[in-house]
Symmetry: D2
Subunit: 389 residues, 4 copies
């Protein structure tokens, strides 16, 4: 990464308003760090909790100006839209059931939006939100952060450049163990995940399944045609689902599998993908993100690393550092934020963004994710019948 | 491994007759090395090729006595059955379509049998052979050699001992790249694999799918209830299938996935399994067979190694060496041979074998493998419908 | 990490002045990102280049106020010391030969200091600077950033807690390939590394040797007694050294080795350490920083991960994220900055810092690093004679 | 590996007489399995213990003919030398202090010899034995078995072919934990290791140091010029040494380090080597022997595997199996035995051996190993002074 394109275009940092992500929240801190890392955003306001006192307390502890700590999201959006120096962008990191309403409200007030995944809880909401984003021309960035890792982007670029040939086989899995224990409670700020009304029709798909789905689409550039799936709950006494498996058929004829669970006792955060084309196979594991294994059809298996030999421009664009110095989850997340910042600044100034900065997930990706959840559930209910995506 | 139980029981090595595995054959050399490693067998005769001249030549090059090099399998079985010092055991390593006939002939002549997988090409043959083996009480050993690795046996023993709790989730995959190239010919001695008549109803299932299926059953001790599958050919112009995916439901309610292919360009021999129970998860990869990763529900991930801390008796029984000295494919294969030797010697002498030696795959395992192939094909033909196994 | 202790103590972020690290500089961007990540610093001014025009340009591109872009370090220190809202801390990331002068100047103007390693180019300077820091009571933080990784801190905490028993054996190595090519030029901004006057008496020791030395001391808490060393240049035509090896004797009787080079063609950034005590051995590799392997005397080898089972408080303090989400070089570097920020804020407010925040390297560590360089060179010149450290 | 060259040349297997390696012995079983794997030897006799009753019992349990079980080595050598069908080769796997006498006796009776390392306990013996071997022209094979691994031989071949360019830097280490516990007793059959009279002047050098030394020489083809060393005992109360470190200078100017210990608690059998040349670096670890990492100066890091892409003839010669099927310690050991068998058969028949079979360690390698032990001890006694090898 070179100069700061936001300062270059706007003459200042983007002003960010935050919804959700109170002080105890892991994902809230992550969003703020991601916004800060490349110095393209300044957090100017936020509603961090539905409890307005807690929200204000959080804002003060984050060093925000007291006069920009509002009692509600609605109040914040109106006040900031009215300020000369008001926020440019709204970042949403609330439980799933409010992504839709806050996104729509932000868009309606003219803000660009950065929103946590899944985009919405229903297919109807997803379609409506995508339509609204398209109509307004605003930037909508969905934080499928795993697509921000340099070696995921290297993988995508290798596929785009034809280094793998025609893609034939795709295996993607996302296995966690955090919800493996029977009767285990979640911390209060995450308890909505066990509530199908707030967390959406599928805990496991909303939490990690859309990440896996998005990762496969991002790297391969392929869209799913149909799916044969099984989804359910393996931990006794649970009302939300905790595993899903699917067989995949892509539009180009490629085949694949998809396997996700949060009930694999002892596993940390194992998101993995293997993609085979006519010219070779690549493998990537989130827990060792700085290695992309490339197994060419003829030739030794190779370990590609960030800014190592063979680095393609999209990957180089996504790394801050010389080879051998690991970047991690924060940097990948920050890449999504920083690319969105460039797109937003370009939109606001009418300037041309770096095309390499336009690979962050958007509302179309979000809509496809919700459609995929819907198809998996339908196929599972239909005894594994192949179902359109 | 301690003293030689075959010499202890019989006062001599078992006399082995070989069918198939001519001099250029990888699998033939492997069988012979496996038989030799622990000094429990002496190869005394063999029909190595359907061409009787080539067969005799091979026998001479292997140092066999000229008067025990026969013109046909039939002649060998009769002559050896009639000799005072005739063979005890017949090992079969021919193309799939002759496993049934040679196994039946060997059993009918009173020989114990060691046979390559898959057991037969049809379900009818598998049922008939299993019935015949049961009726005769002879030993029938199927060389699902991957179950011979010390850490696979450690995994099985950990499940048996309850170290994983109740098994919930099983992922097994076997990915190879050897048949990824379009238009690629096989060496002549393997060309039968591309011939559905000789290789059986499914190349990929017969070659590697039954290994993956057997491995999952061996480690977990669970039987499959039903399967939802997709099988086909991804490499253009191929008449045999080269990938299969399946979602799995086990009799105890556990869920899982199964993914196999021989068309993943650049991949060598990636057989992997992950099994999660209520108390933890284990992972094993054939390409690094000396490590079994154990992730307990509470506690750090552990690397279990052969004869390292926590080694259970079945694993210790299956390793010849102190910790840190890798054993490989040969030793795993030899474990199958050596355990079968102990069972055969016990049967022939009426003595008690070591119970740890009785974990080699048998005709029941072979029959279930063929049933699994059948179920996968039927489910795939029925649009992914869940199908009994 | 919880609330922002700097805002808690000071009611605002620390104001940071930067010396060096112009726009093309890798290390400059790293320092700024490290300062920014946890929101404890605001960069308010800087002299980024000895060319005052370039320096101002850089400041503008970083979004700094034009009236705080000075023509020289001297001018900056004076002006900022005089301002009501002047900088609190000076961060120095210039070539090695100016660390001493800028550090002394900063300290003399009353600033706390964060300085890149090695602390100085001569032992005399190191002793003088350390003495001055001690006299003033200011905070001096040396960016041996590798000690900021969560699993390095876990290693230190495990040693401190006695989990390894008495330390006996230490192997540390730092192997890079970036300077393996004969006749290869460095980019202009790094060309001082090949100049013994600017880069110091030993390129390889100054660049990476002090990191390895510091890492071993940090984790084990042991001090070196004496060293037997060999240092030189293996790439023909080079006037600075590019490898050094040493045998180590620690004050408690532990033994070890030290091996560093920048001439190992193809290697990226391989800093590794293995420490054995009476109760077990730990291994850590910078290129896979989120794993700390712990091999207990009795028990399976374990993979410790950030915030995974067994995490000790110092490691938990040093990680922002739940287990399975890799942190990297930036986060480790940021930990050094953030801990220094806490110490500085506590000093300025007379409050008690969190004791876990006091593990950043300081001027004593810097002095010992320079002494180590001196001892290695002396031993090597004395034909490997054991030499005091 | 193709046809059996011993049967091709001799018309039969080599007849092997064994000295040492009684039934409880790990190394005895290993030698016998290594001899058996490729069917080039038939064990015909042996003296397995200095207790003649135990020795005979062992012979019977190994299935040897009672009339070839002798009361002493002397008797065996005489009787077998006199038989028409007597042994061809003597394999020695006794404690170190008898290697010399048995080797000399075997050679004097005209037997080819396979002997465990270290070759002798004193430099005088080593020189005398090497001289005697040279004078007789018999084959003397020293079982530095690690040089038999396919990827070690691939490494050697890559160096020989110039794929690494000029070798500059060599790091070799051999770290074990089996002797880390204070006051820990060895099993009776290994207790001689703690006895300097029987085990030789250095336990750690004789047990593992000569392996590491030989491995570095084998792969690089370079000879050591001088060494600066430190050797001693780190476990309290021990009379034999358990660690040694050395800095290395090779005849071509290359530099390196050597570090060995048996006191690293919890480590299994970590023999590792890294070799850097002008064109790249290779790394190999014994615990994962099927991977050779090659990091070219320009280009991605590669994982070379047995019979994978880029396999050179010496490596292909040393593997029995297609890529992806791990071979281990036994197969490496067997390669030494099998190559020696080919050399012995060629000598006895006056035929030409395959030149690829002539890379097993011999008495010259053995002599250099003993010289290296001597130099390490002398340098350590001389306060680290550089000492000729």
């Amino acid at each position: 990464m070179g100069l700061n394109p936001v300062i270059e275009m706007l003459g200042r940092r983007l002003r960010l308003a935050v919804i959700g992500g109170g002080l105890g929240s892991f994902i809230g801190a992550m969003h703020r760090q991601a916004a800060r890392l490349d110095d393209r955003y300044e957090i100017v306001t936020g509603v961090f909790s539905s409890d307005s006192e807690k929200s204000k307390q959080a804002g003060l502890e984050l060093g925000l100006a007291p006069d920009r700590l509002y009692a509600s999201v609605q109040e914040m959006l109106e006040a900031e839209a009215a300020r000369e120096d008001g926020a440019d962008v709204v970042a949403i990191m609330t439980p799933n059931d409010s992504h839709y309403q806050y996104s729509v409200a932000a868009v309606e007030h003219g803000f660009d939006v950065i929103c946590d995944k899944p985009m919405t809880n229903t297919l109807e909401e997803a379609e409506a939100l995508h339509k609204k984003v398209q109509e307004t021309g605003l930037v909508f960035c969905l934080t499928h952060n795993y697509t921000g890792y340099p070696m995921v982007r290297q993988a995508k670029a290798m596929v785009d450049e034809g280094e793998l040939g025609t893609i034939r086989l795709i295996q993607v899995e996302y296995v966690q163990g955090g919800k493996a224990e029977e009767g285990q409670d979640l911390p209060p700020e995450l308890s909505w995940k066990y509530d199908p009304v707030r967390g959406g029709p599928s805990m496991v798909m909303g939490s990690i399944g859309t990440h896996a789905h998005n990762l496969a689409r991002f790297i391969t550039g392929l869209e799913l045609a149909e799916v044969s799936a099984d989804i359910g709950s393996i931990v006794p006494g649970r009302v939300v689902d905790d595993y899903a498996g699917a067989l995949l058929r892509f539009e180009n004829g490629a085949r694949g599998t998809f396997w996700i669970t949060q009930a694999a006792a002892g596993v940390e955060n194992c998101l993995q993908i293997r993609v085979s084309g006519t010219k070779g196979t690549i493998e990537w594991m989130q827990e060792f993100p700085q290695t992309l294994t490339f197994m060419p059809l003829h030739g030794s298996s190779q370990n590609r690393t960030p800014n190592g030999p063979g680095t393609l421009p999209l990957s180089a664009h996504s790394s801050r550092i010389v080879a051998g110095h690991p970047e991690g989850f924060h940097e990948g997340f920050a890449n999504i934020y920083s690319d969105a910042a460039e797109a937003i600044s370009a939109r606001r100034t009418g300037k041309e963004p770096n095309p390499l900065a336009l690979h962050f997930p958007n509302s179309w990706d979000g809509l496809l994710g919700i459609r995929f959840i819907d198809s998996v559930i339908k196929s599972s209910e239909a005894n594994g019948k192949w179902t359109k995506c």
